[in-house]
């Protein structure tokens, strides 16, 4: 169980008690305490809408408790049972009027295709295939017609109980088991296109086992989830919202001795370290494989070890292991405290302390990190290698829905960041920027870069003027309007290619006077400090001028994380409108304007604008 760091110890204990006893009353007590103690502390209000084909009313308190630990302040609205399309597409429905931020659809084959369920044995192959096609069409229509901005989170299907042990069903084409697999495959495909998010209920059911379904209550109240498993279900349910709401941690700072290998290098010597294919060395081998997998999907690795750097280098050179020393963007092998080394690494990488996760087998080191740098997420573990491995594998700090090209090169990029930082320290700013040999490409948003665009929209907090979290369907809609301007910027320098690091969305206001409104202007924090934002601005001005726009309007919407861009539009020459609301400052600019591109960036403007 993972709790928000700021929660008082007593509250954590009360919530733990509810998770332990699973009693409804304990869940209620925990909810009451969270209401009293933390709910009022300006926690983000999150409206969750659930459409379903079965009863979940009795699970609502467990769902609320689990969602509260994200942390957020959840409001849950249920649609009428089996009224999925009616609730989703009727703008007057109470469901839509609750303005859901996330919409879940929970369904089962039993309710969607009852005829197929019980008559399949007397149906021809063609009839079975027709039933499947009909349901896919229905799901497809729901997905394609849905235009809302709340992400659509759809549950996967499980094989209904009656058919689980049927052998003949598994040996026919378009049997129930095959249909369930095909439906799930269809949903996974939709998720890979970015149209939906998956709530993998089938996987949850298979991981918790048959006892999670209470057949008695399913018959009695069409309430299949057993009370004993309600909190487990709720946690699995919350995982999707948690990943969408919270910022993924970016860095794993990891200890070496008794964490990445068994034994202490300085005492045991290289030849006696435990790392290999036999027990228990194979557990450390697996830990290294997991760390390497994290690196492969874009998590930056930092090594924090109380050792001599020469010994560490020699050990990595001598031993054949999944991890190489070069896999780490920063290596801190010295005798300073781990938190001091972590601060240094954070400065070298230009990444906030709160984007770090720390793993160490020693309780002392875990506690010290908690005490000195409370914003670092410490992966709690007992020091036992198997527990280390499980703690590393089971945490959700690094969860994300998408791994793009930018994630894959991130480690290399952050290593380059350290080189840039070293160079920056040596030179004055202008000489430094010129020496980087910066090149930028301004391109339109298109199908090829849409996934990266969505990733930036959902994750960028600091350099983000409006923090609007558009859904993929709303971005596609904006792309389809010819007069809108949607631009990306990619950046490379002599140290490496950073890929797409910025986005600007400007919308035609549809007024007679040709007016453009900046909806989104953001830049990845990896690209800060090299005036890439000026280059993107330059691209916007060029395209606005070319399209004959006469007026540009923009707003700075303050969030808890975007203070650093409060003066950006002023710096770009826009005039703020007289307004007392510091959290929503409006700006205007007359066009055409001269482009003031930064001299040290070689900007290439792609032939655009909107190809749609």
């Amino acid at each position: 169980m993972h709790y928000p760091k700021k929660w008082p110890r007593a509250l954590k204990k009360t919530v733990s008690q509810a998770y332990e006893t699973k009693k409804l009353n304990d869940v209620r007590i925990a909810l009451k305490k969270t209401d009293e103690q933390v709910r009022n502390e300006h926690e983000q209000i999150v409206n969750i809408g659930i459409l379903r084909t079965f009863t979940i009313e009795t699970l609502l308190e467990c769902l609320r408790l689990s969602l509260t630990t994200i942390p957020c302040n959840p409001n849950i609205t249920l649609g009428e049972i089996e009224n999925i399309e009616q609730e989703l597409f009727n703008k007057e429905s109470i469901f839509l009027k609750s303005s859901p931020d996330f919409i879940y659809i929970l369904w089962r084959l039993e309710e969607l295709l009852p005829n197929l369920m019980w008559n399949i044995d007397s149906m021809s192959l063609e009839q079975r295939r027709d039933s499947f096609d009909m349901l896919v069409d229905r799901i497809n229509q729901i997905i394609s017609q849905y235009q809302g901005s709340a992400p659509l989170i759809i549950s996967t299907f499980s094989v209904p109980d009656y058919w689980k042990s049927s052998l003949h069903d598994k040996h026919r084409s378009y049997g129930i088991v095959e249909i369930v697999s095909r439906l799930n495959l269809f949903l996974y495909e939709q998720a890979s296109f970015g149209s939906i998010k998956i709530f993998d209920m089938a996987q949850w059911l298979s991981s918790v086992g048959e006892l999670a379904v209470n057949k008695k209550m399913d018959f009695y109240a069409r309430q299949p989830i057993a009370a004993r498993y309600a909190l487990s279900f709720a946690d699995f349910f919350s995982q999707v919202v948690r990943t969408l709401l919270t910022t993924k941690s970016k860095v794993l700072a990891i200890d070496l001795d008794n964490t990445l290998w068994g034994g202490v290098l300085g005492e045991d010597g290289i030849e006696n370290l435990n790392i290999g294919k036999d027990y228990p060395a194979n557990v450390y081998w697996r830990i290294q494989q997991v760390v390497y997998a994290l690196k492969s999907r874009g998590i930056v690795l930092v090594l924090l070890s109380k050792n001599n750097i020469t010994d560490v280098t020699m050990a990595f050179d001598s031993l054949s292991m999944p991890l190489k020393l070069s896999d780490f963007s920063v290596v801190k092998a010295n005798w300073k405290s781990k938190y001091a080394n972590l601060i240094d690494a954070s400065e070298e990488l230009s990444l906030g302390i709160d984007s770090f996760v720390f793993l160490d087998d020693q309780l002392f080191e875990q506690e010290e990190m908690n005490a000195f740098l409370p914003s670092v997420e410490v992966i709690s573990n007992s020091g036992d290698p198997l527990n280390l491995l499980e703690s590393l594998s089971d945490n959700y700090f690094f969860d994300s829905f998408l791994i793009g090209q930018e994630d894959l090169v991130r480690n290399e990029d952050y290593k380059n960041q350290v080189s840039r930082k070293n160079l920056e320290n040596e030179l004055d700013r202008e000489t430094f920027l010129t020496s980087l040999d910066l090149k930028a490409n301004i391109d339109s948003v298109n199908d090829a870069n849409l996934n990266r665009v969505m990733q930036m929209i959902s994750k960028t907090n600091q350099f983000n003027l409006t923090t609007k979290r558009h859904s993929i369907s709303s971005v596609k809609k904006l792309m389809s309007i010819k007069d809108n301007i949607l631009l990306t910027i990619s950046l490379c320098d002599k140290f490496g290619d950073q890929g797409i690091i910025g986005l600007c969305i400007a919308i035609n206001s549809s007024k007679p006077k040709k007016e453009l409104i900046i909806d989104t202007f953001l830049l990845s924090c990896r690209a800060l400090g090299r005036d890439a934002e000026d280059a993107l601005w330059c691209g916007l001005i060029r395209h606005s001028n070319n399209m004959g726009y006469e007026f540009l309007r923009a707003s700075y919407l303050a969030s808890s994380k975007n203070m650093q861009v409060a003066g950006f539009y002023n710096r770009m020459g826009m005039s703020p409108e007289a307004n007392k609301d510091e959290k929503n400052i409006q700006y205007t600019l007359n066009l055409p304007q001269q482009e003031n591109c930064p001299e040290w960036i070689d900007i290439r403007f792609m032939e655009i604008i909107n190809e749609q």
Partner: protein, 79 residues
């Protein structure tokens, strides 16, 4: 807490009513919150508290404390 007190307090907690308002005569007829969804919660809670399993025909009779008590006695609990 004896089994009777445990039964009364569990039902009161599930229904969200004061413990003093639950007694042997409490039922769907005199407690408004005792609806069909409350029955699902009462069944789940009592299964957890008393470590028993109710069968589907027994659940149909979960409309009063008196009947629930009889069902529990039938499962070997002492009141």
């Amino acid at each position: 807490m004896n089994n009777e007190e445990l039964l009364f307090s569990s039902i009161a907690e599930v229904l969200g009513v004061p413990k003093s308002s639950i007694n042997e005569k409490s039922s769907q007829d005199n407690i408004k919150k005792w609806d069909s969804l409350a029955i699902v919660n009462i069944v789940s809670e009592l299964e957890l508290v008393f470590g028993v399993q109710f069968d589907i025909l027994e659940i149909v009779e979960f409309y009063s404390v008196e009947v629930i008590k009889v069902i529990l006695i039938g499962k070997g609990l002492k009141f």
